[in-house]
């Protein structure tokens, strides 16, 4: 019985355990900068898992998801930051925000919920479209939110940064939220709705003929992924202590999509593995950009190489291993007598 449960939870546990070891090591032995890198990667896991819930299960590429991060990040900033400056710099806020400061936990939760409501509202419209038209429309949504938040000066301070958010995000907190995100994603993917949505990904026509509502399944996933993106946005805001609207735009969209594609966008393991691999690579490149000493000589690669390399990695994976490193499979239960891969796929136990 216990074994069965363990087996069923393995696709999540098998990911969480190694992550826990990394966090533990970073926490005990790592320098501050390593610790920050690890925390950042964990926040990225929340983000990419959020993307995965929608993109991975529905097969519809969305370019708009980081908008929901922005919505949550701003929402939590409005509630928690800079009580003295707020009435001046963000005079357009309603009174309950302008002249009050709220504890971080309810602020974070309500911000994530706001993000998922926004996702639901956008989804009501966007999910009516399918295929490329849907993808392009999510891109339009990204631009709409960017334009609005960049110009809504009295509420968002325009393109300027909001500073002075409480920074409470530790590696362990980020780990806990990443775990929560993974559990949410996994429970969704093995649920009937998750199964139905994956069927629409495989064949929209046949799914309709099987009585599945493509629209509602996609909308459900879109909303749920909005929630997880919101969680990521809150973490992001309270990790850096500062937010600005342009952080939540094309660059972040590209990096998170790369992570998802490289890992393999059709499995949770892929989403997580992609973050780990790409974070590791970019971290090394970043350190090389700021200079490393090799046998007494200071060598630095030109700033900006990081992004170029990232794009090349993405292309190579797309060309040579289109289904990503995990090929869209979940990690198999390691202690079984040889079990076919498909048996453990998506927790079909």
């Amino acid at each position: 019985m216990v074994l069965r449960l363990l087996k069923q939870a393995w696709p999540v546990l098998g990911l969480l355990l190694p992550l826990a070891v990394i966090v533990l090591l970073a926490d005990q032995f790592g320098s501050i900068s390593v610790e920050r890198s690890v925390t950042e990667a964990l926040i990225k896991i929340v983000t990419v898992v959020g993307l995965y819930i929608f993109i991975g299960n529905s097969g519809v590429v969305s370019f708009g998801h980081v908008s929901f991060m922005a919505i949550a990040a701003y929402a939590t900033a409005w509630q928690t930051c800079c009580s003295a400056l707020k009435p001046i710099t963000m005079s357009g806020l309603p009174d309950f925000l302008r002249s009050h400061t709220y504890p971080v936990l309810p602020a974070g939760i309500s911000a994530a919920i706001l993000a998922s409501i926004a996702a639901f509202v956008f989804g009501l419209i966007l999910m009516r479209l399918s295929g490329i038209a849907a993808s392009i429309s999510t891109l339009a949504a990204l631009f709409i939110l960017n334009v609005v938040y960049s110009n809504w000066d009295k509420v968002t301070m325009g393109t300027a940064s909001i500073v002075g958010l409480p920074t409470y995000v530790t590696p362990w907190l980020a780990f806990a939220v990443a775990g929560l995100a993974m559990v949410i994603a996994y429970l969704f993917q093995i649920s009937s709705w998750g199964l139905a949505l994956r069927a629409t990904r495989e064949d929209e026509v046949a799914a309709r003929a099987s009585g599945i509502s493509v629209y509602w399944m996609r909308l459900a996933a879109f909303t749920l992924s909005g929630l997880v993106m919101g969680m990521a946005g809150v973490l992001h805001a309270h990790f850096l202590g500062t937010i600005s609207v342009d952080t939540f735009f094309l660059s972040l969209t590209f990096i998170t999509l790369t992570m998802l594609v490289v890992g393999g966008m059709r499995s949770l393991s892929g989403a997580v593995l992609g973050v780990v691999v790409i974070s590791f690579v970019t971290d090394i490149l970043r350190r090389m950009e700021s200079g490393v000493s090799v046998s007494g000589q200071e060598i630095a690669i030109p700033a900006g190489s990081q992004e170029v390399v990232l794009a090349v990695v993405m292309l190579l994976v797309l060309i040579f291993r289109r289904d990503g490193l995990t090929k869209g499979r979940e990690f198999a239960w390691p202690f079984a007598r040889r079990q076919s891969i498909s048996e453990t796929k998506h927790g079909d136990a």
């Binding site: 097969g59 519809v60 590429v61 419209i125 966007l126 009516r128 479209l129 399918s130 295929g131 490329i132 038209a133 993808s135 392009i136 429309s137 891109l139 339009a140 949504a141 631009f143 709409i144 334009v147 609005v148 960049s150 110009n151 026509v205 094309l250 590209f254 999509l257 790369t258 594609v261 030109p302 900006g304 190489s305 992004e307 170029v308 990232l310 794009a311 090349v312 993405m314 292309l315 797309l318 060309i319 289109r322």
Partner: protein
């Protein structure tokens, strides 16, 4: 009234510029179901080819120093070569991938080009003195129209006509249209895929070159991100025009440009900053009403 006519000219000029970019995107989409994000970066590269790669904000000229026919040829050649290279290296191996994968790959190519350019030219915007004679306004019946706008419209209209002739009358053009309608069938009928696709990319590079010259002549600045907005607008244009329909793409581009200028002119001043949001919302709206676009191509329908 005069003001209104001036606005109309602005609208037509921007609309025709977007129509060119949209046409390029529509061409490539038609023949290989690829929505090419990198189209914007072809034009950025073309623009940067005018100057010598330095960190300077007012860099010395490269192609920009040549007499203008050579300069135009240089920029066009650069864009065409880059377009062909991306096709050969990145897109050809992915030819059978689904549209979502292709879209992501072109996103990657775009990201690559932008940051590679940034490595050689730095990320700072640059100014470039060019086409000053074009910047002068010409007075027609009391309406002052910048020379650049006239050139833009003339060039676009002649290019559009040229394209129609190319697609309707020449062998390669007919093959391209056949491929856009039904690629598999066209192949069976002996259309050579590599040739047609390469030709499509060459044309899209050519169009990028033209647009980059027109843009630089209008603004006199270079910016790594200068291709993004045109390509985004053109994207939306191709989608609302009807994917795979070239006439639709051109029409969509024109509409998007015109809408954008009209909103800029007639929105109340407080809302003007939100103009682009309005245009994008309009895109979503059009798609809701006509998910297959204004002029759907017959290839876009799936048979059960």
């Amino acid at each position: 009234m005069l003001n209104f006519i001036q606005v109309l000219f602005d609208a037509a000029a921007l609309g025709s510029l977007y129509a060119l970019v949209a046409l390029a995107i529509g061409l490539v989409f038609g023949i290989m179901r690829l929505i090419n994000f990198a189209q914007g970066d072809y034009l950025t590269i073309g623009a940067y080819a005018l100057v010598v790669p330095t960190a300077s904000v007012t860099p010395p000229l490269l192609f920009g120093a040549l007499p203008w026919p050579l300069m135009v040829a240089g920029v066009l050649a650069t864009c065409i070569i880059v377009a062909l290279l991306t096709e050969r290296i990145a897109f050809r191996p992915l030819r059978n991938a689904n549209p979502a994968t292709l879209l992501i790959s072109s996103f990657a190519v775009s990201y690559f080009i932008q940051h590679a350019l940034m490595l050689v030219h730095t990320g700072r915007p640059k100014s470039i003195a060019m086409g000053s004679s074009l910047a002068q306004a010409i007075d027609i019946f009391g309406v002052r129209i910048p020379g650049v706008q006239l050139v833009t419209m003339t060039v676009t209209v002649s290019l559009l006509i040229g394209f129609v002739i190319l697609l309707k009358k020449t062998a390669i053009g007919i093959q391209m249209r056949a491929a856009a309608e039904n690629f598999q069938m066209a192949r069976l009928l002996g259309v050579r895929a590599n040739k047609v696709i390469a030709f499509g990319f060459a044309l899209s590079g050519f169009l990028a070159g033209i647009v980059s010259l027109l843009l630089v002549a209008q603004t006199g600045t270079l910016d790594i991100k200068m291709g993004i907005m045109p390509v985004i607008f053109a994207f939306f244009a191709t989608v609302i025009g009807g994917m795979g329909s070239l006439a639709g793409a051109a029409l969509g581009g024109f509409l998007v440009g015109v809408t954008s200028v009209l909103l800029q002119a007639y929105l109340p001043p407080d809302l003007r900053a939100f103009r682009d949001a309005g245009v994008f919302a309009l895109v979503i709206l059009v798609l809701l009403v006509r998910p297959k676009g204004l002029i759907p191509s017959s290839a876009s329908r799936e048979r059960v």
